[in-house]
Symmetry: C2
Subunit: 248 residues, 2 copies
Amino acid sequence: MSLVETDDVEGGEILSLHQRILSDIREKILSGAWAPGHRIPFEHELTAQYNCSRMTVNKALSQLAKAGLIERRRRSGSFVRQPQSQAAVLELHDIRIEVEALGLPYRYERLERVKRRSGAEDRALLGLSASGAVLALEGLHFAGERPFALEQRLINLSAVAEAAEEEFLDIAPGPWLIGRVPWSEAEHRIRAMAADEAIADALDIDPGAPCLVVERRTWSAEHPVTHVRFIYPAESHTLVARFTPSQG
Amino acid sequence: MSLVETDDVEGGEILSLHQRILSDIREKILSGAWAPGHRIPFEHELTAQYNCSRMTVNKALSQLAKAGLIERRRRSGSFVRQPQSQAAVLELHDIRIEVEALGLPYRYERLERVKRRSGAEDRALLGLSASGAVLALEGLHFAGERPFALEQRLINLSAVAEAAEEEFLDIAPGPWLIGRVPWSEAEHRIRAMAADEAIADALDIDPGAPCLVVERRTWSAEHPVTHVRFIYPAESHTLVARFTPSQG
DNA sequence: ATGATGATTATGTATATACATATTGGAACG
DNA sequence: CGTTCCAATATGTATATACATAATCATCAT
């Protein structure tokens, strides 16, 4: 076993050992050469194979474990994990950015703004147990002259008191909140819906036309912050999510 | 500076130093105490604060950097990153599992199976440049007696030759493929659509009724494997995605 | 002023080492 | 035969150390 054991002649890039071990193993797993359930070499074997210390191998394997590609069991070794739960990273952009990416001028317009004590429905949407003050907003996002999305939002004023002072006349609540409230968690629901009279009217489409609805609830440190519903006319919007199983 | 510098008295769990540093810093960032752009303490300062080695601090900070919470700059220090790109982990389950989670009996039924040379549309959907053999499948997923989703699928036979021998009469192509082809990448498109005559007929809904459409393209090592379109009646289906900015 | 140079500094990567901890397999014992 | 207990083993975590690399700052010569 010489000092130059693993063929470091071949092709090109300058990878750290760490990254080389990572990508080697990832490739074996993703190519199927090592099927789910396969026991990958022990740390001490990889140590010999790559002629490096156990710490380096350990760091790489720990990372693969965290990424969910392998499972590590004490005394038994490390194993390729089962199926790959099909998860995808869904990027939910700011609507202004989406619109501007289309090369169209963006504009936000408030339709309604009501401050009230939370009713049962408000509490259900926000995930609140006790009653309290909420701000209910409705507004339209325009792409050029055409409505792009309708926004219906609830803000929990006990979590974001300053919002009570804001008019939101032509500032969308989304960007306003993001700058102020650090959120720690969010939940999205995505579904299709037929436009009712009011929605059709606001979006300038036919009643009954299909719409894509994206709802989001946001928490900051256990406290519900806001619930928002974006309603897009079906033609104007497609969500795109791209997924690669591991993250280097 | 004594040996017990950081108050290790307080509350409860047994955390490794590594995890404690991680969660301390995460909390500071997520709570907003350290705003975006804030320079977090140097490694040697944290080393002193937690009374541990630089390696331990370094490992924690590297992890935060990989998770995207902080940015590290040589000679300058580590900084809390800007906005938080709004990404969400979208789980796309196996339809069988979804249906069975509802407590309903699951069944798959093939509607159509055609082997052909890829046309222009097929190539566009699969992302193929050259022509070749493809398998076009259409099938229905049932929840109990009611249609739950319509599946329209293309399989690239140059990538998955064995699929040509399979009838897919009551085996859904999804699970069949997952067991055979390790996929490395996938792209999802999610949109709303009005059911046309054929879809309405298959799903037993009214023409024009809103549907949720999920399209997925899958690659294995650069080769397009399959394109699938799931069409759900709006009432039957909501996608849920949950998101927490960092991952332990 | 301007530009090149080198010292300083913080992070990046790797090593050797040590001890803790969970799990397995087998030996000893009732 | 089954249970208990111990030793072996693989991973988990942490340390001290070393050198590489990139960015910045102060200095000095032009």
